[in-house]
């Protein structure tokens, strides 16, 4: 694989972390789809009652928490542009 043509090849720590967070945010919907669909494909009847409800809401809660953590951190401004109000 060739190196990216523009921009620095290596990033400082904060920017690097942010890139990886963005990667994770891209993966999140994929993971959500897999978690929600595959169990029902594999064993629909076992998940139809109380077990299904517990499992479904556990997964749902997990997604909400993961999404919350990711998007909160992504929503934060980069540390380099933070000290704006100190003018």
């Amino acid at each position: 694989m060739s190196l990216p043509p523009e921009g620095p090849i290596f990033l400082e720590r904060a920017a690097y972390r942010r890139r990886r967070l963005q990667d994770a945010a891209r993966l999140l919907p994929m993971a959500t789809i897999v978690l929600l669909l595959v169990p029902v494909w594999l064993m629909p009847s076992a998940l139809s009652g109380a077990l299904g409800m517990v499992g479904l809401f556990a997964v749902w809660l997990l997604i909400v928490i993961a999404s919350g953590l990711l998007h909160r951190r992504l929503g934060r401004p980069l540390p380099t542009e933070a000290p704006k109000d100190e003018l």
Binding site: A25, T32, W41, G49
Partner: protein, 881 residues
């Protein structure tokens, strides 16, 4: 609880909503949007997704099909989880183009085509009307649940519809701002969202901990219910599960009301980072108690009770009137918020894509028309007519139809609007998507939806028989699959027109449309056009706002006053502002009429591409040029320095040469005077004559040198080529220069064997150079034991002679000057010559086709002579001469 109390509570609640909406609108009008811009308000406004279908219908759905009801909320959860790279982009592009609806977005992407927008409006309207009817019906049946049973519902339904229409008109069409934000409506929706969530959770807690014995007991009851023989529908079916999740995810993006709150209402995409987790959490909270309520309702209520109304019948049957009232208000909130937003969104589409184009077609807006015909009136009127028409259609549908389970209608609407997704998503991600492809995909998908889902849901047709696959899931897969296939295939086969390609570039790469326009070329009749445009804008926005916009545009161009030049980028911005009021396609058509804007042609598109390419090239050239300039400036600076130094030298030399000429002349005159004396001894006479002769010789040499130099410089020097042995030449030079010797004895270091090189050159001239170099070393070498090193080398393309002494050499700042005429080292006292030796040497070497260079970095002064194999201008004949 009396029915009158209920009516009073409902009216009071509606009054509260009017107040909230009014207050928020007022604050926004004063520029305070602090509250409506809060992410929490945005998230709560998204909950318009949870209509009465959720509030009443989810329990009914769950009691029939168990956990499957959750699919409707899982699809949005997936979309919101991916909001960082999906929704954010959608919102950003939509805000960039100021689209007003989902139809506007798709039509703007595919070349601002109004027919496409009109088609999408039609589909959305077909899908939404039964859905709206369902909301009105839910309000009506929830009233009925409280009534003694013989209440005639007709007039009440009518009043509900009228009340909703009034709200929508009051807060949805107050003004024709340049965007479609409705702060009052959004605020009211947010309040309603909280009410419905509170109501549903209160009911759930009451059911789980009041009627059942806590979560563990509840789970046991759910398990028992799932095991009962009449709960066959509870078994999850993977095909339906997948299809419904896919459809609900698609519907979240394409439902007109969801597009309105999610994309149109926010100021920008920042609240999405909060909504990404808060909205799924809201949906989860709304879904958490659905199954428990369904199970307990089935257990405790009579078998003939409608599952869709369990949420009301449960508290009523247990005498919990207060809770029942809260639940009623929650249901009312769900229904009204959905109806209001849907109506506003659909009315915008109907008005922008059906009524206004019709209006404009009937009454052409003429640029020369100076009568103050206001378009605002007709525009707002068309919105209001559309609102009434949409709500009226829903009410009419409810009056003649009705009676279906709530859940079915919701799914039907979802599958219908999901058909818009391929064109929308494809348009945003793929530049190759074309309008014809969008038509093909939408038509194909919608046709299958109408035949397999919509008509069967009205009981007008049977469901398709798809063997083992569930009919709904099958219809979803087939319709979406063929939709995507047609969209892709036709896009691949057809050519987009230039306007489409411009828009495609702007949408896919989220670049501002004017960035893709060709430069800022002023169109002809600029001032006239600008005035006409201002008139047009005033008619749409009213005087002040139009003037404000035009002034800021003039400012941007650096002009004073209110009339900017009519450039392509100004037109693009004006068109987008207008699009915020009347839709992209309409604004485009209107500007085309007034500004005389022609269709974008292929050659213009190519010009844009060329322009961009040239701009890129110019930027690069500028960079190169500035490098080049820096280099030139540096060499000019050096030349200037040299010239200055030389000029100083020349001045000094003129003084020197006058002195040099004067000294011998003076002694010649003085001694010739002496010779005149009568009583002079022969010895003295002899001596004086000698001195005169010597001085005259010096003068002659100086003049010879100057003459020689001028001949060499003018290129008139005659060279006679011959073959000589370098060793002999150097020996002769040393011998000849020894006469000039002064100071300490110079030791010559030679490498005799390598000197045996035959060179073809003008021997006398080369000898002159060598004598000069060796003589210089004799004269100027200031070492205690001066040593002159002479080295020769035979190269493939010539001969190299290096002459170096071991003195202090030439200072760095003077190395540049030694070969200049009249240049002499600082110490004129030691200089015997006029400073022409090295200058002559350089001219000679140049005439011989070689070079003489000063070699820095040695102990003393070092010069290198380079000679070519044969001098220039001498053909083979020279060898024979």
């Amino acid at each position: 609880m009396s029915f009158d109390t209920l009516i009073l509570a409902a009216l009071g609640y509606v009054g509260l909503l009017f107040t909230v909406a009014w207050a928020a609108d007022r604050a926004a009008a004063r520029g305070r949007t602090r509250w409506t811009d809060k992410p929490i308000v945005y998230t709560l406004s998204l909950s318009v997704y949870c209509s009465a279908w959720t509030f009443y219908g989810a329990v009914g759905y769950a009691s029939r099909s168990g956990l499957e009801f959750a699919t409707i909320y899982l699809g949005p959860t997936i979309v919101l989880a991916g909001s960082w790279w999906g929704l954010r982009r959608l919102v950003r592009v939509s805000r960039l183009h100021r689209v007003t609806s989902v139809a506007d977005l798709v039509s703007a992407r595919f070349g601002k085509s109004n027919p496409l927008a009109a088609l999408i409006t039609l589909i959305a309207l077909i899908a939404a009307t039964p859905y709206l009817a369902l909301q009105l019906q839910s309000i009506s049946v929830s009233f009925a649940a409280f009534s003694p049973g013989d209440l005639p519902s007709g007039p009440l339904d009518g009043w509900v519809a009228v009340g909703l229409a009034v709200f929508a008109i009051l807060f949805g069409t107050r003004n024709l701002a340049a965007d479609e934000r409705h702060h009052g409506v959004v605020m009211a929706i947010a309040v309603e969202a909280m009410v419905k969530l509170l109501a549903f959770i209160a009911l759930g807690i009451w059911v789980v901990w009041g009627l059942a014995d806590g979560p563990a007991d509840m789970l046991a009851r759910i398990a028992a219910r799932a095991a009962q023989p009449d709960a066959a529908g509870w078994t999850l079916r993977p095909d339906r599960w997948t299809a419904l999740i896919a459809v609900s995810a698609a519907a979240l993006l394409t439902l007109p009301r969801m597009f309105q709150v999610m994309v149109i209402e926010p100021a920008d995409e920042t609240p999405l980072t909060s909504a990404a987790w808060a909205f799924p959490a809201y949906l989860m909270a709304m879904s958490l108690f659905v199954l428990p309520i369904a199970v307990i309702g089935k257990e405790m209520l009579p078998a003939d009770a409608a599952p869709d109304l369990y949420v009301l019948h449960l508290p009523l049957s247990q005498g919990a009137d207060g809770l029942a009232l809260l639940v009623f208000l929650g249901g009312l909130s769900s229904a009204t918020s959905m109806v209001i937003i849907s109506t506003i969104a659909l009315a915008t589409m109907v008005s922008n894509h059906w009524l206004v184009p019709l209006f404009l077609a009937l009454r052409r807006i003429d640029a020369s028309d100076t009568a103050p015909a206001d378009i605002r009136g007709p525009l707002l009127a068309s919105r209001r007519i559309a609102i009434m028409a949409v709500i009226g259609a829903g009410a009419l549908y409810q009056a003649i139809g009705g009676g279906q389970a709530l859940a079915a209608m919701g799914t039907v609407a979802f599958v219908g609007v999901a058909q818009l997704l391929p064109a929308m998503l494809g348009g945003l991600l793929w530049r190759g998507a074309t309008r014809k492809g969008a038509y093909a995909g939408i038509c194909m998908g919608s046709a299958i939806w109408l035949l397999w889902v919509f008509l069967p849901s009205l009981g007008l047709r049977g469901l398709p028989d798809l063997g083992p696959v569930d009919p709904l899931a099958g219809a979803v897969f087939v319709s979406l699959g063929l939709n995507i296939a047609c969209f892709t295939a036709v896009s691949l086969l057809t050519l987009p027109d230039p306007q489409e390609r411009l828009q495609g570039l702007s949408f896919v790469h989220a670049v501002s449309p004017e960035a893709t326009m060709a430069g800022g070329a002023v169109r002809p009749e600029g001032a006239v056009r600008a005035e006409a445009l201002l008139t047009l804008a005033r008619r749409v926005w009213g005087g002040d706002e139009a003037l404000l916009f035009f002034r800021s545009e003039a400012d941007r161009q650096g002009k004073s006053g209110f009339l900017p030049d009519v450039t392509a980028s100004f037109l693009s911005r004006l068109e987008r502002r207008l699009a915020g009021s009347m839709g992209t396609a309409t604004a485009h058509a209107m500007l085309a009429q007034v500004a005389g804007q022609r269709q974008t042609t292929m050659s213009e598109l190519m010009a844009v591409a060329g322009e961009a390419q040239r701009a890129k090239e110019r930027a690069r050239q500028l960079e190169d040029d500035s490098d080049e300039l820096a280099r030139t400036a540096r060499s000019l600076q050096e030349a200037n320095d040299r010239l200055t130094a030389l000029s100083v030298q020349k001045d000094a030399f003129l003084g020197q040469i006058s002195h040099e000429l004067r000294t011998p002349m003076t002694s010649v005159r003085a001694f010739s005077e002496l010779l005149k004396l009568p009583d002079l001894s022969p010895e003295d006479r002899e001596r004086f004559a000698g001195i005169i002769n010597e001085e005259a010789t010096r003068l002659t040499r100086l003049l010879d040198d100057l003459l020689d130099l001028s001949v060499l410089e003018s290129g008139r020097a005659r060279l006679s080529s011959s073959v000589v042995n370098l060793h002999d030449l150097i020996s002769r030079a040393i011998e000849a220069s020894s006469a000039l010797g002064s100071g300490a004895e110079l030791r010559i270091d030679r490498d005799t064997p390598t000197e045996q090189i035959m060179v073809m050159t003008d021997a006398d001239r080369l000898l002159q150079v060598l004598i000069n170099l060796i003589g210089n070393a004799r004269k100027y070498c200031d070492a205690a034991r001066p040593v002159l090193t002479i080295r020769t080398r035979k190269l493939t393309d010539g001969t190299q002679i290096t002459v170096m002494d071991n003195g202090s050499g030439i200072p760095a700042e003077q190395q540049d000057l030694v070969f200049e005429k009249f240049s002499r080292l600082n110490d004129p006292a030691r200089a015997g010559g006029a400073g022409l030796g090295l200058a002559i040497s350089r001219e000679v070497m140049t005439a011989l086709g070689g070079t003489i260079t000063y070699l820095p970095g040695h102990d003393g002064a070092a010069f290198r002579l380079e000679l070519p194999v044969r001098p220039p201008g001498l053909g083979a004949s020279a060898e024979t001469s």
